[in-house]
């Protein structure tokens, strides 16, 4: 029977990547000279599992590579080696390499052999730097001994075996009769029992073995095959195996107890072969290779999430309740009478409750703790601080705060950017910190918590704070603000989010890779969230990101424009006001502006944007909804505000095509479809109407 092990690959990868994360965080928590037994054991186990799994599932190169790492860890675990910073660094890079190797194998891409060889040699160098070259020695010993045994000739007629178990043999779970069965598969076996050592019944220990056997095995199997049968008991018995002289046909009949007749088992040969191949690594090697080379069905990689059993259980539970409700309603419906109305209403209420709970629980399945994102930061901080010569203490809190998997995947990069910025520009080098009367070790806090329907992530450092002077100067240089403009510190801080803004004197290779804060803000906005900064010179800065918990559902405000209903994401609404006509200004080229508390916001008529007829035209008959996106405010002119409700977002792109100004669609309670407005998109349309027109013309064409 042959089993295709590739079916276990995806779970192996999933578990190995988790193992690598565990190793990485474990390694990062290790410090020079200290070895915490638990930590090192955990790291070791992860490496060990990867090695074992990789070997089993045919990734011999990964298995080989992990071997060195495992050996190193084993030595640390056994106290044979001290934890040095160097060793930790090498092991970290080995973890990286493993991760790359696995991704490559997973995607059926090429492995960066050069890097693997390099890190591998680093590991070897560490291993051999002590007098631990012994490890390599044993390996070569093993192989050479294997070679010699394989070379042994076995041209004899069979084997004569004296087998005298020690009394405790049965207690190891071994059983002589099973071993004889196994021998019988190698050839014709004759068994002679020697019960001379059997004590008197009253002295007999029922759990001990007093018997011994002489066996004659007619076979062309090698001595190794025979030894292998006794491999597990070689220390629990007296065993001697000698070649059988070629006289087998004479004596066999005289033997008292023929244990088993060979002819009874026709399948002898293949099984014997199997047994031999178990022992010689050479013969299994090609097998492993063939598995490896088989095109590993590229990108069968299905994004999967691991869900806690209790979440699944609660779903099953809810579905059960739903079924009960359904059957209850079914019964009511069968011969409905108006007297049963209260029951019907009860039933419908129950249905509503079930549905809501089911929805909430299903959403919870997609929720993962933010630690998935946070966990990469200890490594990042570790690497960056050593490069920058800074000392930073990273404090993570609220790692268990959950958010939607999709949001999680997209928030990673902006967070990395912000953390890099804090490390690079925010936190000072130790000398500067000491000079400023601060602890030379800077603090970087990453905090997550839930607030309302949002998740809030804060990145705060106790560094120098934003350099307002420099920001302002730069902004003036770039023509983003007028030289004589008098800006409050908050306004100045906001400038860093403007496109084309970067204060770094020199673009360092750590942050400032041409990706500015504007991109960070844009990415966060596209998730329906926002980011803001609070900073105080000399005290530090805090970036606060607010995100919706999920992208699939959001709180929306339903509005009426002409005959259409639209939905505005609640998160972007600041306020809704009745319009006082005298506060409306018309500016050539900029359309209408509305003065709200001395701030002019552009007024956008949705009827114009979407080309609708029959809406409210007179400003005082409608309402103005002030919304914010990309830190710019705009007023949307609508006929009427309807209800607020949670809406399930359906993608327009998947079902139709991308439409500027529309983020998606949803189905309302009465079954009609309503478009969800994309505020950023509307802003762009408003800012560049001509361009928008052009592109839509092209689209239509």
């Amino acid at each position: 029977m042959s089993i295709d092990v590739s079916q276990f690959h995806s779970i192996f990868f999933e578990e190995s990547f988790e193992g690598l994360d565990t190793m990485e965080s474990g390694l990062l928590s290790m410090s020079e000279g200290e070895t915490d037994a638990d930590t090192i054991n955990t790291i070791f186990r992860a490496a060990h599992s990867i090695k074992g799994g990789a070997g089993t599932f045919g990734f011999s190169n990964i298995s080989e590579f992990t071997h060195g790492l495992e050996t190193l860890l084993d030595q640390i675990r056994n106290g044979e080696r001290d934890t040095t910073n160097e060793a930790v660094e090498v092991m970290l890079s080995a973890v990286d390499t493993l991760r790359e190797m696995m991704s490559a194998v997973q995607d059926a891409a090429d492995i960066d052999e050069e890097k693997v060889a390099h890190v591998s040699s680093e590991l070897t160098r560490l291993l051999q730097s002590d007098e631990e070259a012994a490890e390599a020695q044993t390996i070569s010993d093993e192989t050479s001994s294997n070679e010699t045994t394989l070379a042994t000739e076995h041209q004899q007629a069979g084997w004569k075996i004296d087998f005298k178990p020690l009394p405790h043999l049965l207690q190891t779970g071994n059983e002589p009769s099973r071993m004889f069965n196994e021998l019988a598969e190698l050839g014709k076996l004759d068994v002679e029992l020697d019960d001379a050592a059997l004590p008197h019944f009253s002295d007999l220990d029922p759990e001990a073995c007093y018997l011994s056997w002489q066996l004659r095995l007619e076979t062309d199997a090698s001595i190794e095959a025979v030894q292998e049968v006794f491999e597990w008991v070689e220390d629990d018995c007296e065993l001697s195996i000698s070649p059988l002289v070629d006289e087998q046909h004479q004596d066999t009949t005289q033997l008292e107890k023929p244990f088993q007749d060979t002819d009874a088992s026709p399948s002898t040969a293949p099984i014997a072969e199997q047994a031999v191949s178990t022992q010689s690594p050479e013969s299994t090697a090609p097998k492993v290779d063939s598995v490896k080379k088989k095109p590993s069905t590229p990108s069968t990689e299905m994004a999967s999430i691991r869900v806690g059993t209790e979440k699944v259980d609660s779903l099953v539970n809810l579905v059960g309740e739903l079924v009960i409700t359904q059957s209850m309603l079914g019964q009511i419906g069968e011969n409905f009478d108006i007297k049963m109305l209260p029951q019907l209403i009860d039933g419908l209420e129950q249905l509503e409750r079930n549905t809501r709970e089911l929805q909430e629980n299903i959403m919870r399945i997609r929720m993962l703790p933010i630690s998935f994102v946070f966990n990469r930061f200890p490594r990042l901080v570790h690497d960056m601080t050593s490069k920058l010569g800074k000392k930073v203490n990273l404090v993570l809190s609220g790692e268990q705060t959950e958010l939607d998997k999709t949001v999680m995947e997209k928030i990673g990069d902006p967070l990395v950017h912000l953390v890099r910025n804090s490390l690079d520009h925010g936190l000072e080098i130790p000398e500067k910190r000491l000079a400023a009367n601060k602890n030379e070790v800077g603090e970087l806090h990453l905090t997550a918590y839930h607030q309302g329907g949002n998740i809030v992530i804060e990145i705060s450092d106790d560094g120098a704070g934003l350099n307002e002077e420099k920001i302002l100067q730069k902004a003036i240089e770039k023509g983003l603000v007028e030289a004589d403009e008098n800006l409050s510190p908050e306004k100045i801080h906001e400038l860093i989010f403007l496109p084309g803004f970067s204060t770094a004197d020199a673009v360092s290779d750590l942050s400032g890779r041409g990706v500015g804060m504007d991109v960070v803000r844009k990415n966060i906005n596209s998730l329906g969230g926002n980011v803001e900064v609070i900073s105080e010179p000399g005290v530090g800065s805090t970036f606060t990101i607010r995100l919706p918990l999920t992208l699939a559902i959001m709180d929306g405000q339903i509005i009426q424009v002409a005959e259409q209903r639209f939905i505005i994401p609640l998160i972007s609404i600041i306020e809704s006001v009745e319009i006082e006509p005298k506060k409306v200004k018309r500016v050539t080229g900029k359309g209408e502006l509305y003065n709200i508390r001395d701030e002019y916001v552009p007024l956008i008529r949705l009827t114009n944007v979407f080309n609708l007829d029959g809406g409210v035209e007179t400003l005082e008959d409608g309402l103005l909804v002030i919304v914010e996106a990309e830190d710019r405010k705009v007023g949307l002119f609508v006929d009427e505000l309807l209800s607020q409700q949670q809406v399930v977002i359906k993608s327009l792109e998947t079902n139709f095509r991308k439409v500027t100004g529309v983020a998606g669609a949803t189905i309302l309670g009465d079954g009609t479809v309503a478009m969800i407005l994309d505020i950023s998109g509307l802003l762009t349309m408003h800012r560049e109407p001509a361009k928008q027109l052009n592109s839509s013309v092209i689209k239509v064409a």
Binding site: F8, I11, E15, T172, N174, W232, A275
Partner: protein
């Protein structure tokens, strides 16, 4: 067919062992670590135990030692999955009361061959 208890902290190995043994008609109960396995073993008996060595909570060797203390497991074959082929590791396994071992990496066929060896 046999009733087998398979213990491994690695989900992929557990799946592979379970799938292979079930495919050969055995009944398989899985455990994530030694402690869980021991708890299961206290409630029912098995014809064979296959256990990994390196596991959290309770490793395979100490599981083997504890199982041998249970009367239902006194003679039960216990196979240890190990990556270490060195003689001292084998000795450790034997001292703990293991019947035999299966050296990782192994493929499903080797697993079945070894299982056959102890189930007779």
């Amino acid at each position: 067919m046999a009733n087998i208890l398979a213990v491994d902290d690695s989900a992929s190995m557990r799946q592979m062992v379970e799938f292979t043994l079930k495919g050969a008609g055995h009944t398989v109960t899985s455990a994530n670590d030694g402690q869980q396995a021991l708890d299961i073993a206290k409630t029912k008996s098995f014809d064979l135990v296959i256990t990994d060595v390196n596991m959290p909570n309770k490793d395979g060797l100490s599981l083997t030692r504890d199982l041998r203390q249970l009367s239902a497991f006194k003679f039960t074959p216990i196979l240890v999955l190990t990556t270490e082929a060195g003689p001292e590791k084998k000795q450790e396994g034997r001292a703990a009361g293991a019947t035999g071992w299966l050296i990782k990496p192994f493929n499903p066929d080797q697993l079945l061959a070894t299982v056959k060896k102890v189930l007779g």
